[in-house]
């Protein structure tokens, strides 16, 4: 599921997954990686084809104090980037 990682980005491809695992999975990963997100400038990138997740994920991570952007990719899925707000 974890597709790639470089110093600043952790990419998860969760396309095709049963509802609501996109949101549950993302919440777990954001919670697990909270130190890296807040202190190391890491961005979590979620690839999803779940239309509903493009609303629920940004709302949920905003409640946890993170920023989220949603972008539609040409391949037909949505990319959600989650990061800590600037200090």
């Amino acid at each position: 599921m974890k597709e790639s990682q470089n110093t600043n980005n952790i990419v998860y491809d969760i396309r095709g997954q049963i509802c609501p695992s996109c949101l549950l999975f993302t919440l777990r990963e954001v919670n697990t990686k909270r130190h890296a997100l807040k202190n190391e400038g890491v961005t979590i990138i979620i690839k999803t084809d779940n239309r509903n997740a493009t609303t629920t994920i940004p709302e949920a991570v905003a409640n946890m104090g993170y920023l989220a952007t949603v972008e539609k990719r040409e391949e037909g899925y949505y990319q959600i980037e989650i990061m800590a707000p600037p200090q």
Binding site: G16, I18, L24, R51, T55, T56, A60, M64, K72, E75
Partner: protein, 377 residues
């Protein structure tokens, strides 16, 4: 075949395509409405469901009073039994595990979801399993039957349907006004071609009303799964299928209101009334969602999914089929059709569906992932 049958096939195909398109654009998932309420306390989609039920209630009652709805209550509804409650509970668990109900499975499959395809297979398997236990279950249903010969709440208390519906309509109108004042209808969304759930609710209520006008019944598709299972099983075990009581019964036996054409049908492997009414809806919903997904360039088939999600969808599909046959009837039939006329079977189905969806949500969250409590709230 008579021209009236061709008309119904074409009409229901059009209804299905329109419905599939609407549901894909708005992600109108009944399973998700209940699941997300229990899991995250999200109630926006439940509001849309209430709007759909309220609108259908008003349209059906208007149609009855104007005399354009002639079959009231509609065919295939029966007297209530406690098995409606049990069936609703099993259905509720199944729809959450499957990631969609009998219709959600179709529109998601139309947009390329392979887990929904697994749920679809589960629906066929579950329908076949039910056929084996039908005589035994039917005994239960008869034993726990009450209010014999009464179908709706109005019939049970010997009152005018309008009088019984009035408090519900007034209560629903009050809530609708309140949520309008609180600006709770519009949902923010970044997705292409998004349709607001309240618009989808109104349009789906209109489709249900049109179905009731033309075919004499609101939307329903779950017997089609049983029929598909019967056709497939007959290829392998023809003698066994021929001997199963469930596949011999013809619960649909009525006259199409506008044409006067008699129509009969059941779950057996025959091209009968159920096939003419429900197969076009099934095909239409898949096709409508497919067209919608292609137009927004989101049709994709992605198979790299954890095995337990496939298992969950398959098991959920089996439970969906068992629940819809044990009730009998699915969530679309009861929530979009029976509840608006306060059919007692539908009220019991809903009373079972809610705890079922709650149990399904617990199973799903433990089966797939654990939720960090502080994150979910």
């Amino acid at each position: 075949m008579e021209p009236a049958i061709y008309t119904i096939i074409v009409f229901n195909l059009a209804l299905g395509i329109t419905g599939g398109f609407i549901m894909h654009r708005s992600d109108f998932c009944v399973a998700g409405m209940f699941r997300d309420f229990f899991l995250f306390r999200h109630s926006a989609m439940l509001r849309a469901l209430l709007l759909l039920i309220l609108t259908s209630m008003i349209l059906f009652e208007l149609g009855r009073r104007l005399g354009i709805i002639r079959l009231y209550p509609f065919p295939l509804l029966g007297s209530p039994s406690l098995v409606n409650l049990a069936g609703g509970t099993i259905f509720g668990i199944g729809m959450v595990l499957a990631g969609g109900c009998v219709v959600g499975t179709l529109y998601r499959m139309g947009s390329g979801s392979v887990t929904s395809a697994a749920a679809f297979v589960g629906l066929l398997i579950g329908s076949g399993v039910y056929a084996e236990i039908h005589p035994w279950w039917k005994g239960f249903a008869t034993q726990f039957l009450f209010q014999k010969d009464n179908i709706t709440l109005a019939q049970a208390i010997a009152a005018d349907p309008g009088l019984v519906l009035l408090p519900c309509i007034l209560g629903g109108a009050f809530l609708t006004g309140l949520w309008t004042k609180q600006e709770k209808w519009d949902q923010s969304s970044m997705v292409s071609g998004y349709m607001q759930p309240w618009k989808a609710a109104l349009l789906l209520a209109l489709l249900g009303f049109l179905s009731y006008l033309v075919t004499g019944m609101p939307l329903g598709i779950s017997t089609a799964y049983a029929k598909m299972a019967a056709f497939m099983e007959r290829l392998v075990l023809p003698d066994h299928v021929a001997g199963l009581a469930f596949f011999q019964e013809l619960p649909l036996n009525y006259i199409i209101p506008f044409t006067g054409t008699p129509l009969t049908g059941g779950a057996g492997p025959n091209l009968d009334g159920i096939a003419f009414i429900q197969f076009p809806l099934v095909i239409g919903i898949i096709l409508g969602a497919f067209v919608s997904a292609v137009l927004v360039r989101e049709f994709s088939i992605y198979v790299r999914i954890p095995a337990r999600q496939y298992i969950s969808a398959l098991a959920g599909g089996i439970l969906l089929a068992l629940g819809s046959r044990m009730t009998p009837g699915c969530n679309i039939w009861h929530l979009f059709g029976g509840l608006p006329i306060l059919a007692m079977q539908s009220l019991l189905f809903l009373a079972g569906l809610v705890p079922g969806a709650w149990i399904g949500t617990i199973l799903l969250s433990r089966l797939i992932l654990t939720v960090p409590r502080e994150a979910a709230e």
